[in-house]
């Protein structure tokens, strides 16, 4: 058959694409279990970091099982959705994404550190170049921040990417989500500026858009937990 004819070219490309697709699908199927396990461990490490614990990959699962006492979904009223409790990666509370509109609720992770209960809630938003996300560990009064964890898909190294570094994350410790009984969240401001009626932390110099993204994420994502946090605040004040 003539190598330059159109029929040959078309058949050749069809066969090639089918073979490549089968090969890739097979590779993916073989490796998917290990990949999911890695992603789960990564998520556990992030949740642990929000509790100010740096766990290595090998010890993350053990530490997670030790600290996280309960995990569940809550509905928009801030009430626990029955039947969603469970701390293992197979349970709904672990696998549910914050942004999933079809989910039964939004996840809360309950941790016990040194005898006191902390509530870890996920956050997700947008930075300058792509998505940013994180976890916020809140004290049992639903207001004071115990620890924060941020990560990003691809913010500028040395500028916006610094939201994932300890100096920025540690600024959140001890800040209050509530001011005068009202949910205000925490603002991220330009270094040196201040805001009047809510707690704030300094943003990243040169990472203005990323800082605004974090600010927005703290308002939007944490805002979804407003009722839950208000309930906690009313019960434990």
């Amino acid at each position: 058959m003539n190598r330059e004819s159109s029929a040959y070219t078309i058949i050749y490309s069809v066969v090639m694409v089918v073979i490549v697709a089968l090969g890739l699908a097979f590779t993916h199927q073989v490796l998917i279990d290990r990949q999911t396990a890695n992603e789960n461990i990564d998520k556990m490490q992030q949740i642990l970091r929000s509790l100010n614990i740096n766990a290595s990959t090998s010890e993350a699962q053990e530490r997670y099982a030790e600290l996280i006492q309960d995990a569940y979904l809550i509905d928009s009223e801030g009430r626990k959705v029955e039947g969603t409790e469970g701390t293992t990666p197979d349970d709904l509370a672990f696998s549910t994404e914050l942004e999933d509109p079809a989910a039964a609720g939004i996840p809360v992770y309950e941790a016990e550190v040194d005898g006191s209960v902390k509530y870890v809630i996920p956050m997700s938003g947008t930075g300058l170049w792509g998505s940013i996300w994180g976890y916020l560990a809140v004290e049992s009064d639903g207001s004071a921040i115990y620890g924060a964890e941020f990560d990003h898909a691809g913010e500028t190294p040395g500028l916006g990417a610094e939201i994932a570094d300890t100096p920025f994350k540690s600024r959140f410790q001890g800040k209050e989500l509530f001011r005068d009984g009202q949910f205000r969240s925490i603002a991220v401001v330009k270094p040196g500026r201040s805001v009047a009626n809510r707690d704030y932390v300094d943003g990243i110099s040169g990472g203005t858009i990323t800082s605004q993204g974090v600010d927005n994420m703290l308002l939007q994502s944490v805002g979804k937990y407003r009722n839950f946090l208000e309930n906690l605040n009313a019960a434990n004040r």
Partner: protein, 211 residues
């Protein structure tokens, strides 16, 4: 030895030195700057590129008599993209942390000029065995530059190697500080330039004529 005649030896070893893709042909610079802030990702990237160039070269060389000329670039791209996807999947499964550090640059191996260059210039006109050696040679030629740059950037920028502290605490107490500039991309290009400088001064025939 029949396995490595003088010609195949040149194919394998040439890219390590006088025909180096990075410091002589100045290809693949983008990823060389981006992934070399630490030694470990540099090593993983180097291994990934060696594997992809070698196997892409072999596959294209085996197919070279059947590929329709009109779509040969597309065929090359599909082969390279498939191999890169496999490498990326394997990294996600077995080296998740490194994969996170390399982020998009594993995927961007597809666009690495070294690969397409070798496929077009070598694999389409040579048998599988020399093509395999050519791929290994060019991958290693790219890789050793990455490793050298990664070594110095991590050592001087973080005081660590493979994330193990090597600069003793006493140095820091005596006033030594890590050079933050090393972590930024401009320092990588300066280091590559230094390697080119040393290489050119040792191989005078590579120096351009000046008036």
């Amino acid at each position: 030895m029949a396995l490595l005649s003088s010609k195949t030896k040149a194919v394998l070893l040439g890219p390590l030195n006088k025909n180096n893709p990075v410091i002589v042909q100045v290809l693949g610079i983008c990823s060389a700057l981006a992934v070399t802030s630490k030694l470990e990702p540099s090593l993983v990237m180097a291994i990934a590129v060696v594997l992809v160039t070698a196997f892409a070269n072999v596959i294209i060389s085996l197919l070279r008599k059947s590929i329709p000329n009109r779509i040969r670039i597309i065929v090359q791209l599909v082969v390279v993209a498939a191999l890169v996807t496999i490498v990326s999947e394997v990294l996600k499964a077995f080296a998740y942390d490194v994969n996170k550090q390399l982020s998009v640059f594993v995927g961007l191996i597809v666009t690495n000029c070294i690969l397409m260059g070798r496929l077009e210039a070598f694999a389409l006109g040579n048998g599988p065995w020399p093509s395999f050696l050519d791929g290994i040679g060019n991958g290693l030629g790219y890789g050793w530059i990455l490793v050298v740059v990664g070594f110095f950037r991590e050592l001087l920028g973080s005081g660590t190697l493979m994330d193990i502290q090597v600069v003793p605490e006493a140095f820091y107490n005596a006033g030594y500080e890590n050079n933050g500039l090393m972590m930024l991309a401009p320092m990588a290009i300066l280091l590559v330039a230094c390697i080119i400088w040393v290489h050119r001064s040792r191989n005078k025939e590579l120096q351009e004529e000046t008036n």
